[in-house]
């Protein structure tokens, strides 16, 4: 049987480690989700109308990916501080389910539609679904502490 000593995890023994990891988590999700929201604003026709949506996806993709990598890495570190508690937490289960869905949606339907000069109605539908999925992720995250 695998025995994991929670106290050996620096996140549980160093008073700075946990909040600092959360700061990385927050800043990087602001970057990645914010950039996806930027593409959504464009798809909704609410900002940057002179830039092609496909071009916008291309221009933001590196920063979005960087943000996602940092947010997932810091998230895994936070998860490691108390895995059992998180696994059985309904807020966490919900958050991970929506996150996986949102990431798959983003890299399949969302980005493909943005690159393909969609009709305004298709673009709007795709953007609204994207915004909805991504808003649910931080909601699930906060719920972890309240369920």
């Amino acid at each position: 049987m695998l025995i994991y000593d929670l106290n050996a995890n620096p996140l549980n023994s160093n008073e700075w480690a946990f909040p600092l990891t959360e700061c990385f988590h927050i800043t990087s999700f602001a970057l990645s989700i914010g950039l996806i929201a930027l593409v959504d604003l464009r798809l909704l026709g609410l900002a940057l109308k002179r830039t092609n949506p496909g071009q916008l996806v291309k221009d933001t993709s590196l920063w979005t990916l960087a943000g996602l990598i940092i947010v997932i890495t810091s998230g895994l570190l936070i998860f490691s501080s108390d895995p059992i508690r998180y696994i059985y937490n309904t807020g966490f289960q919900f958050k991970i389910a929506v996150l996986v869905l949102a990431i798959i949606y983003n890299y399949t339907i969302h980005n493909r539609v943005a690159r393909s000069n969609p009709s305004p109605s298709t673009a709007k539908l795709v953007a609204v679904v994207s915004l909805f999925l991504w808003v649910l992720v931080p909601f699930g995250g906060i719920w972890i502490s309240f369920v």
């Binding site: 008073e15 927050i26 970057l31 830039t51 906060i142």
Partner: protein, 185 residues
């Protein structure tokens, strides 16, 4: 009246007491605060990265600054409104929290930032015409990045501050001692 008493008066206002004691309203407000950080905080970061020439180079700076402005204002309004509810409903705990004080100071610096660099943001077309991004615009973008990341971090750290005994919130000091019952025969 002391700061402690004023803070206690604030958080005793009816609907703020309701928020503090509610099961779901408080986390709903907190989640909304965080969701606006995700949606609109990213727009702030992106505008700064664009001014620095680090992202979205095929879009003119003027387009980024001008078309994102109303959305950033909307986000900021929701974020500040939710933040005010969160802070005032727990004013006893917040007023003496050094990270809260630091966060508020940084927000004042954001206002000063917008005044000092108003020339940069009011005339973004000039940045697109300039052969090289002027130093003042870079200074505006870098200081904005630092301020907002600092605000997010201070916000997170508020939860990790534990007051020493002498700084305990006023509520815990004013709990009346149980009356002494003296047994008499």
């Amino acid at each position: 009246m002391s700061v402690a008493e004023i803070s206690h008066q604030i958080q005793s206002i009816g609907f703020l007491t309701y928020i503090r004691e509610s099961g779901y309203t408080y986390p709903m407000i907190l989640s909304t605060h965080l969701a606006t950080i995700a949606m609109f905080g990213g727009l702030i970061l992106m505008t700064d990265l664009r001014i620095l020439g680090l992202a979205m180079k095929s879009t003119p700076i003027a387009d980024v600054v001008k078309t994102l402005r109303p959305w950033k204002h909307l986000g900021l309004t929701i974020m500040v409104a939710m933040g005010l509810l969160l802070a005032t409903s727990e004013m006893d705990k917040y007023y003496g929290n050094p990270y809260f004080q630091m966060k508020m100071s940084l927000l004042i610096l954001v206002i000063i930032h917008s005044i000092v660099f108003r020339g940069v943001y009011r005339n973004p077309e000039a940045l697109d015409k300039a052969p090289k991004i002027p130093g003042i615009a870079k200074a505006a973008a870098i200081s904005s990045l630092c301020l907002w990341i600092g605000i997010a971090c201070c916000g997170r750290w508020i939860a990790y501050y534990e007051p020493k005994d002498k700084d305990k919130p006023v509520t815990s000091l004013t709990v009346p001692a149980p009356p002494q019952v003296v047994a008499t025969r």
